[in-house]
Protein backbone atom coordinates (compact mmCIF):
# COMPACT_ATOMS: atom_id res chain seq x y z
CA UNK A 1 0.00 0.00 0.00
CA UNK A 2 2.79 2.38 0.88
CA UNK A 3 4.37 1.60 -2.47
CA UNK A 4 1.63 3.33 -4.39
CA UNK A 5 1.21 7.04 -4.72
CA UNK A 6 -2.42 7.69 -3.96
CA UNK A 7 -2.73 5.92 -0.61
CA UNK A 8 0.38 7.82 0.44
CA UNK A 9 -1.23 11.12 -0.44
CA UNK A 10 -4.46 10.10 1.26
CA UNK A 11 -2.51 8.94 4.27
CA UNK A 12 -0.75 12.27 4.38
CA UNK A 13 -4.04 14.14 4.14
CA UNK A 14 -5.51 11.94 6.87
CA UNK A 15 -2.40 12.67 8.89
CA UNK A 16 -2.86 16.38 8.51
CA UNK A 17 -6.54 16.16 9.29
CA UNK A 18 -6.79 14.04 12.39
CA UNK A 19 -3.66 12.15 13.24
CA UNK A 20 -1.42 13.86 15.64
CA UNK A 21 2.28 13.59 15.88
CA UNK A 22 3.74 13.57 19.36
CA UNK A 23 7.28 14.67 19.90
CA UNK A 24 9.52 14.11 22.83
CA UNK A 25 10.33 17.38 24.61
CA UNK A 26 13.93 17.52 23.42
CA UNK A 27 12.85 16.51 19.92
CA UNK A 28 14.83 13.27 19.87
CA UNK A 29 11.84 10.96 19.39
CA UNK A 30 8.48 11.53 17.76
CA UNK A 31 5.51 9.26 17.23
CA UNK A 32 3.42 9.50 14.11
CA UNK A 33 0.12 8.07 12.98
CA UNK A 34 -0.88 6.14 16.10
CA UNK A 35 -4.06 4.09 15.73
CA UNK A 36 -5.76 1.10 17.25
CA UNK A 37 -7.53 -1.55 15.23
CA UNK A 38 -11.27 -1.74 15.75
CA UNK A 39 -11.49 -5.16 17.39
CA UNK A 40 -14.51 -7.49 17.35
CA UNK A 41 -16.86 -7.12 20.34
CA UNK A 42 -15.63 -8.88 23.48
CA UNK A 43 -12.23 -9.45 21.91
CA UNK A 44 -9.53 -10.21 24.44
CA UNK A 45 -6.89 -8.74 22.18
CA UNK A 46 -6.44 -5.80 19.92
CA UNK A 47 -3.51 -4.22 18.16
CA UNK A 48 -2.07 -0.75 18.05
CA UNK A 49 0.11 0.69 15.32
CA UNK A 50 2.36 3.75 15.05
CA UNK A 51 5.65 4.95 13.68
CA UNK A 52 8.54 5.83 15.95
CA UNK A 53 10.98 8.38 14.55
CA UNK A 54 14.36 8.82 16.08
CA UNK A 55 15.74 12.28 15.33
CA UNK A 56 18.79 11.87 17.50
CA UNK A 57 22.24 10.61 16.68
CA UNK A 58 22.02 7.61 19.01
CA UNK A 59 19.96 4.45 19.09
CA UNK A 60 16.72 4.73 21.06
CA UNK A 61 15.22 1.71 22.76
CA UNK A 62 11.55 1.16 23.52
CA UNK A 63 11.51 -0.82 26.73
CA UNK A 64 7.87 -0.96 27.80
CA UNK A 65 4.38 0.09 26.78
CA UNK A 66 1.23 0.47 28.83
CA UNK A 67 -2.30 1.84 28.61
CA UNK A 68 -4.77 2.71 31.37
CA UNK A 69 -7.46 1.10 29.21
CA UNK A 70 -5.81 -2.31 28.92
CA UNK A 71 -4.54 -4.78 31.46
CA UNK A 72 -1.27 -5.15 29.61
CA UNK A 73 0.45 -3.91 26.47
CA UNK A 74 3.35 -5.63 24.77
CA UNK A 75 5.39 -4.99 21.69
CA UNK A 76 5.02 -7.92 19.31
CA UNK A 77 6.16 -8.84 15.87
CA UNK A 78 4.41 -11.09 13.39
CA UNK A 79 6.91 -13.32 11.61
CA UNK A 80 6.76 -16.26 9.22
CA UNK A 81 8.49 -19.45 10.31
CA UNK A 82 8.28 -22.42 7.90
CA UNK A 83 5.03 -21.19 6.39
CA UNK A 84 3.50 -20.67 9.82
CA UNK A 85 2.67 -17.27 11.18
CA UNK A 86 4.04 -16.67 14.65
CA UNK A 87 3.83 -13.82 17.14
CA UNK A 88 7.05 -12.93 18.84
CA UNK A 89 7.11 -10.83 21.97
CA UNK A 90 9.73 -8.14 21.65
CA UNK A 91 11.07 -7.13 25.05
CA UNK A 92 12.65 -4.11 23.44
CA UNK A 93 12.50 -2.43 20.08
CA UNK A 94 15.50 -0.45 18.95
CA UNK A 95 15.15 2.54 16.68
CA UNK A 96 18.38 3.37 14.85
CA UNK A 97 19.88 6.85 14.96
CA UNK A 98 18.09 9.14 12.51
CA UNK A 99 15.92 6.18 11.61
CA UNK A 100 12.41 4.96 12.25
CA UNK A 101 10.47 1.82 13.07
CA UNK A 102 7.00 1.37 11.69
CA UNK A 103 4.44 -0.69 13.59
CA UNK A 104 1.99 -1.88 10.95
CA UNK A 105 -0.34 -4.80 10.20
CA UNK A 106 1.64 -7.97 9.58
CA UNK A 107 4.78 -6.72 11.30
CA UNK A 108 5.52 -4.93 14.56
CA UNK A 109 2.39 -4.20 16.57
CA UNK A 110 1.42 -3.21 20.06
CA UNK A 111 -0.52 -6.10 21.49
CA UNK A 112 -3.29 -4.63 23.63
CA UNK A 113 -4.29 -7.32 26.07
CA UNK A 114 -7.63 -7.52 27.85
CA UNK A 115 -9.52 -4.22 27.59
CA UNK A 116 -10.67 -2.97 30.99
CA UNK A 117 -13.88 -1.64 29.44
CA UNK A 118 -15.59 -2.06 26.10
CA UNK A 119 -14.07 0.14 23.40
CA UNK A 120 -15.68 1.12 20.15
CA UNK A 121 -14.85 2.69 16.82
CA UNK A 122 -13.74 6.32 17.25
CA UNK A 123 -12.73 5.95 20.90
CA UNK A 124 -9.29 7.07 21.93
CA UNK A 125 -6.71 4.87 23.58
CA UNK A 126 -4.00 6.40 25.71
CA UNK A 127 -0.68 4.70 25.18
CA UNK A 128 2.44 5.27 27.25
CA UNK A 129 5.73 4.45 25.59
CA UNK A 130 8.79 4.09 27.75
CA UNK A 131 12.13 4.56 26.06
CA UNK A 132 15.41 3.76 27.80
CA UNK A 133 16.76 6.75 29.69
CA UNK A 134 13.82 9.07 29.04
CA UNK A 135 10.49 9.91 30.58
CA UNK A 136 7.45 8.11 29.15
CA UNK A 137 5.91 9.49 26.02
CA UNK A 138 2.11 9.51 25.83
CA UNK A 139 0.11 9.21 22.61
CA UNK A 140 -3.59 9.24 21.99
CA UNK A 141 -4.51 6.61 19.41
CA UNK A 142 -7.91 6.59 17.79
CA UNK A 143 -9.73 3.33 17.21
CA UNK A 144 -10.38 2.91 13.54
CA UNK A 145 -10.79 0.33 10.83
CA UNK A 146 -7.78 -0.72 8.84
CA UNK A 147 -7.74 0.83 5.37
CA UNK A 148 -8.58 -2.52 3.79
CA UNK A 149 -11.75 -2.79 5.84
CA UNK A 150 -13.25 0.47 4.67
CA UNK A 151 -15.76 0.02 1.88
CA UNK A 152 -14.56 1.87 -1.20
CA UNK A 153 -16.18 5.22 -1.83
CA UNK A 154 -18.99 5.24 -4.33
CA UNK A 155 -19.44 1.51 -3.94
CA UNK A 156 -23.21 1.68 -3.54
CA UNK A 157 -23.51 3.90 -6.54
CA UNK A 158 -21.55 1.50 -8.69
CA UNK A 159 -23.54 -1.39 -7.34
CA UNK A 160 -26.79 0.31 -8.34
CA UNK A 161 -25.44 0.93 -11.82
CA UNK A 162 -24.53 -2.72 -12.23
CA UNK A 163 -27.98 -3.82 -11.19
Amino acid sequence: MTNRGWPKVLGLLAGIMFIQSVAWADGSISIENPWVRDAPPHAEMSAGYLTILNHSGKTQTLTSVSSPQFQKVEAHKTVMVNGQVRMLREDKVTVPAHGSVEFKPGGYHLMLIHPLHELKLGDRVEIHLQFKGTQPLTVDAQIREAAEEMPPHGMHKMHDMNM
Partner: protein, 234 residues
Protein backbone atom coordinates in the same frame (compact mmCIF):
# COMPACT_ATOMS: atom_id res chain seq x y z
CA UNK B 1 -7.06 -47.47 -74.18
CA UNK B 2 -9.49 -44.88 -72.88
CA UNK B 3 -11.33 -47.68 -71.18
CA UNK B 4 -8.19 -48.77 -69.43
CA UNK B 5 -7.40 -45.23 -68.29
CA UNK B 6 -10.87 -44.81 -66.91
CA UNK B 7 -10.61 -48.04 -65.07
CA UNK B 8 -7.31 -46.97 -63.49
CA UNK B 9 -8.75 -43.66 -62.40
CA UNK B 10 -11.73 -45.43 -60.88
CA UNK B 11 -9.43 -47.82 -59.10
CA UNK B 12 -7.31 -44.93 -57.72
CA UNK B 13 -10.16 -42.87 -56.37
CA UNK B 14 -11.13 -44.94 -53.32
CA UNK B 15 -7.41 -45.14 -52.59
CA UNK B 16 -7.10 -41.35 -52.60
CA UNK B 17 -10.21 -40.98 -50.44
CA UNK B 18 -8.71 -43.26 -47.85
CA UNK B 19 -5.65 -40.99 -47.57
CA UNK B 20 -7.80 -37.88 -47.34
CA UNK B 21 -9.87 -39.40 -44.55
CA UNK B 22 -6.81 -40.66 -42.77
CA UNK B 23 -5.26 -37.17 -42.99
CA UNK B 24 -8.41 -35.48 -41.75
CA UNK B 25 -8.63 -37.99 -38.94
CA UNK B 26 -5.05 -37.28 -37.90
CA UNK B 27 -5.67 -33.54 -37.96
CA UNK B 28 -8.82 -33.97 -35.87
CA UNK B 29 -6.93 -36.17 -33.42
CA UNK B 30 -4.13 -33.61 -33.16
CA UNK B 31 -6.64 -30.82 -32.53
CA UNK B 32 -8.41 -32.89 -29.88
CA UNK B 33 -5.08 -33.65 -28.22
CA UNK B 34 -4.08 -29.98 -28.33
CA UNK B 35 -7.42 -29.02 -26.80
CA UNK B 36 -7.04 -31.68 -24.12
CA UNK B 37 -3.55 -30.41 -23.29
CA UNK B 38 -4.84 -26.86 -23.26
CA UNK B 39 -7.62 -27.79 -20.85
CA UNK B 40 -5.27 -29.79 -18.68
CA UNK B 41 -1.97 -29.18 -17.00
CA UNK B 42 0.53 -28.98 -19.84
CA UNK B 43 -0.41 -25.53 -21.16
CA UNK B 44 -2.00 -24.31 -17.94
CA UNK B 45 -0.84 -20.75 -17.27
CA UNK B 46 1.79 -20.73 -14.55
CA UNK B 47 0.69 -20.01 -10.98
CA UNK B 48 1.38 -16.45 -9.83
CA UNK B 49 4.16 -16.12 -7.21
CA UNK B 50 3.20 -17.50 -3.80
CA UNK B 51 0.38 -19.55 -5.27
CA UNK B 52 0.50 -23.34 -5.46
CA UNK B 53 -2.12 -25.22 -7.45
CA UNK B 54 -2.89 -28.83 -6.57
CA UNK B 55 -3.18 -30.92 -9.75
CA UNK B 56 -5.40 -32.80 -9.85
CA UNK B 57 -7.48 -31.16 -7.08
CA UNK B 58 -7.42 -33.20 -3.89
CA UNK B 59 -10.70 -34.44 -2.47
CA UNK B 60 -11.07 -33.63 1.22
CA UNK B 61 -12.22 -36.32 3.66
CA UNK B 62 -15.26 -36.04 5.91
CA UNK B 63 -14.89 -34.07 9.13
CA UNK B 64 -17.14 -32.91 11.92
CA UNK B 65 -16.80 -29.36 13.28
CA UNK B 66 -19.24 -26.81 14.76
CA UNK B 67 -19.99 -23.46 13.18
CA UNK B 68 -20.30 -20.04 14.84
CA UNK B 69 -23.96 -20.77 15.68
CA UNK B 70 -23.13 -24.08 17.32
CA UNK B 71 -24.48 -26.10 14.40
CA UNK B 72 -22.71 -29.02 12.78
CA UNK B 73 -20.22 -28.01 10.11
CA UNK B 74 -19.18 -30.92 7.95
CA UNK B 75 -17.82 -31.61 4.49
CA UNK B 76 -21.37 -31.17 3.16
CA UNK B 77 -21.08 -27.44 3.88
CA UNK B 78 -18.24 -27.27 1.37
CA UNK B 79 -20.36 -28.65 -1.48
CA UNK B 80 -22.09 -26.41 -4.01
CA UNK B 81 -19.93 -23.35 -3.39
CA UNK B 82 -16.26 -22.55 -3.65
CA UNK B 83 -14.64 -21.89 -0.27
CA UNK B 84 -11.75 -19.63 0.65
CA UNK B 85 -10.50 -21.11 3.88
CA UNK B 86 -8.20 -19.57 6.44
CA UNK B 87 -6.89 -20.95 9.76
CA UNK B 88 -6.30 -18.82 12.83
CA UNK B 89 -7.55 -17.99 16.31
CA UNK B 90 -9.36 -15.06 17.85
CA UNK B 91 -6.59 -14.21 20.34
CA UNK B 92 -4.49 -13.30 17.30
CA UNK B 93 -4.62 -9.48 17.21
CA UNK B 94 -2.64 -8.72 14.08
CA UNK B 95 -2.37 -11.32 11.36
CA UNK B 96 -5.86 -12.86 11.61
CA UNK B 97 -7.81 -9.56 11.70
CA UNK B 98 -5.63 -8.21 8.90
CA UNK B 99 -6.36 -11.27 6.78
CA UNK B 100 -10.10 -11.25 7.51
CA UNK B 101 -10.24 -7.53 6.68
CA UNK B 102 -8.44 -8.30 3.41
CA UNK B 103 -10.92 -11.09 2.68
CA UNK B 104 -13.86 -8.80 3.41
CA UNK B 105 -12.51 -6.14 1.08
CA UNK B 106 -11.81 -8.79 -1.56
CA UNK B 107 -15.34 -10.15 -1.21
CA UNK B 108 -16.84 -6.68 -1.72
CA UNK B 109 -14.70 -6.20 -4.81
CA UNK B 110 -15.83 -9.55 -6.20
CA UNK B 111 -19.46 -8.61 -5.55
CA UNK B 112 -18.93 -5.51 -7.67
CA UNK B 113 -16.78 -6.77 -10.50
CA UNK B 114 -17.77 -10.45 -10.66
CA UNK B 115 -21.14 -10.91 -8.90
CA UNK B 116 -21.51 -14.48 -10.17
CA UNK B 117 -18.15 -15.46 -8.68
CA UNK B 118 -19.04 -13.80 -5.38
CA UNK B 119 -22.41 -15.55 -5.23
CA UNK B 120 -20.73 -18.92 -5.61
CA UNK B 121 -18.06 -18.21 -2.99
CA UNK B 122 -18.02 -18.59 0.78
CA UNK B 123 -15.31 -17.53 3.20
CA UNK B 124 -14.51 -19.82 6.11
CA UNK B 125 -12.41 -18.98 9.17
CA UNK B 126 -11.39 -22.13 11.01
CA UNK B 127 -10.21 -21.55 14.56
CA UNK B 128 -7.45 -23.94 15.58
CA UNK B 129 -7.91 -22.85 19.20
CA UNK B 130 -11.14 -24.63 20.27
CA UNK B 131 -10.23 -24.26 23.97
CA UNK B 132 -10.78 -20.50 23.91
CA UNK B 133 -12.83 -20.04 20.74
CA UNK B 134 -16.33 -21.17 21.61
CA UNK B 135 -19.03 -20.66 18.95
CA UNK B 136 -20.25 -17.33 20.49
CA UNK B 137 -16.69 -15.94 20.52
CA UNK B 138 -16.19 -17.17 16.98
CA UNK B 139 -19.44 -15.50 15.92
CA UNK B 140 -18.45 -12.13 17.41
CA UNK B 141 -15.09 -12.36 15.72
CA UNK B 142 -16.09 -13.48 12.24
CA UNK B 143 -19.22 -11.35 11.88
CA UNK B 144 -17.24 -8.27 12.88
CA UNK B 145 -15.58 -8.50 9.47
CA UNK B 146 -18.47 -9.79 7.38
CA UNK B 147 -21.90 -11.07 8.44
CA UNK B 148 -21.79 -13.75 5.74
CA UNK B 149 -18.40 -15.18 6.65
CA UNK B 150 -18.46 -18.61 8.25
CA UNK B 151 -16.57 -19.67 11.35
CA UNK B 152 -15.91 -23.21 12.50
CA UNK B 153 -13.87 -25.08 15.05
CA UNK B 154 -13.81 -28.46 16.72
CA UNK B 155 -11.74 -30.98 18.65
CA UNK B 156 -8.17 -31.62 17.56
CA UNK B 157 -8.90 -34.95 15.88
CA UNK B 158 -11.51 -33.32 13.65
CA UNK B 159 -9.41 -30.23 12.95
CA UNK B 160 -6.61 -32.51 11.77
CA UNK B 161 -8.97 -34.27 9.37
CA UNK B 162 -9.17 -30.92 7.64
CA UNK B 163 -5.69 -29.45 8.17
CA UNK B 164 -3.65 -32.57 7.38
CA UNK B 165 -4.84 -33.13 3.80
CA UNK B 166 -4.57 -29.39 3.14
CA UNK B 167 -0.99 -29.38 4.33
CA UNK B 168 -1.92 -26.85 7.02
CA UNK B 169 -0.62 -27.02 10.57
CA UNK B 170 -0.82 -25.36 13.95
CA UNK B 171 1.08 -25.54 17.23
CA UNK B 172 0.34 -24.25 20.70
CA UNK B 173 3.41 -22.51 22.01
CA UNK B 174 4.57 -20.73 25.14
CA UNK B 175 4.17 -16.97 24.69
CA UNK B 176 7.59 -16.34 26.27
CA UNK B 177 9.86 -19.19 25.28
CA UNK B 178 7.98 -20.39 22.19
CA UNK B 179 8.42 -23.94 23.45
CA UNK B 180 5.81 -26.27 22.03
CA UNK B 181 3.01 -27.53 24.22
CA UNK B 182 2.20 -31.21 23.66
CA UNK B 183 -0.09 -31.69 20.69
CA UNK B 184 -3.82 -31.44 21.02
CA UNK B 185 -3.98 -30.76 24.76
CA UNK B 186 -5.06 -27.51 26.33
CA UNK B 187 -1.84 -25.61 27.07
CA UNK B 188 -1.08 -25.08 30.72
CA UNK B 189 -0.07 -21.45 30.19
CA UNK B 190 -2.98 -18.99 30.24
CA UNK B 191 -1.72 -16.66 27.51
CA UNK B 192 -0.37 -19.30 25.14
CA UNK B 193 -0.08 -18.36 21.52
CA UNK B 194 -0.87 -20.44 18.47
CA UNK B 195 1.48 -20.64 15.52
CA UNK B 196 -0.56 -21.53 12.47
CA UNK B 197 -0.36 -21.80 8.71
CA UNK B 198 -0.60 -18.43 7.07
CA UNK B 199 -2.09 -19.52 3.75
CA UNK B 200 -5.50 -19.21 2.18
CA UNK B 201 -6.85 -22.53 0.94
CA UNK B 202 -9.14 -22.47 -2.08
CA UNK B 203 -11.52 -25.41 -2.17
CA UNK B 204 -13.84 -26.01 -5.13
CA UNK B 205 -17.57 -26.73 -5.01
CA UNK B 206 -16.91 -30.47 -4.88
CA UNK B 207 -14.89 -30.07 -1.66
CA UNK B 208 -11.54 -30.52 -3.40
CA UNK B 209 -8.43 -28.51 -2.57
CA UNK B 210 -7.52 -26.60 -5.72
CA UNK B 211 -4.93 -24.05 -4.63
CA UNK B 212 -3.23 -22.56 -1.64
CA UNK B 213 -2.02 -19.00 -1.46
CA UNK B 214 0.71 -17.53 0.72
CA UNK B 215 0.46 -14.00 2.21
CA UNK B 216 0.30 -11.05 1.77
CA UNK B 217 -3.49 -11.38 1.77
CA UNK B 218 -4.35 -7.95 0.45
CA UNK B 219 -7.75 -7.54 -1.18
CA UNK B 220 -6.21 -6.76 -4.55
CA UNK B 221 -4.08 -9.89 -4.57
CA UNK B 222 -6.82 -12.17 -3.24
CA UNK B 223 -9.17 -11.02 -6.02
CA UNK B 224 -6.65 -11.38 -8.83
CA UNK B 225 -5.48 -14.81 -7.68
CA UNK B 226 -9.01 -16.05 -7.08
CA UNK B 227 -10.27 -14.87 -10.47
CA UNK B 228 -7.23 -16.47 -12.12
CA UNK B 229 -7.96 -19.79 -10.42
CA UNK B 230 -11.69 -19.74 -11.10
CA UNK B 231 -11.16 -18.90 -14.78
CA UNK B 232 -9.33 -22.20 -15.16
CA UNK B 233 -12.08 -24.33 -13.70
CA UNK B 234 -15.38 -22.72 -14.62
Amino acid sequence: MPHVKLATAQRRRPHLNRFVWLGLGLIAAALAAAYWFYRHESVRPPDPPGVQSVIPPEKLPTFSLVDQHGRAFTRTQLLGKWTIMFFGYTHCPDFCPTTLAGLNSAYHRLERQAPKLAASTQVLFVSVDPFRDTPPILRDFVSHFNKDFLGATGPAAQLHRLTDPLGASYDYTDADSHDLFPDDKRPTQKDYVVDHSSGLYIVDDKARLVTWVLPPHTAHRIVSVYEHIRSQYD
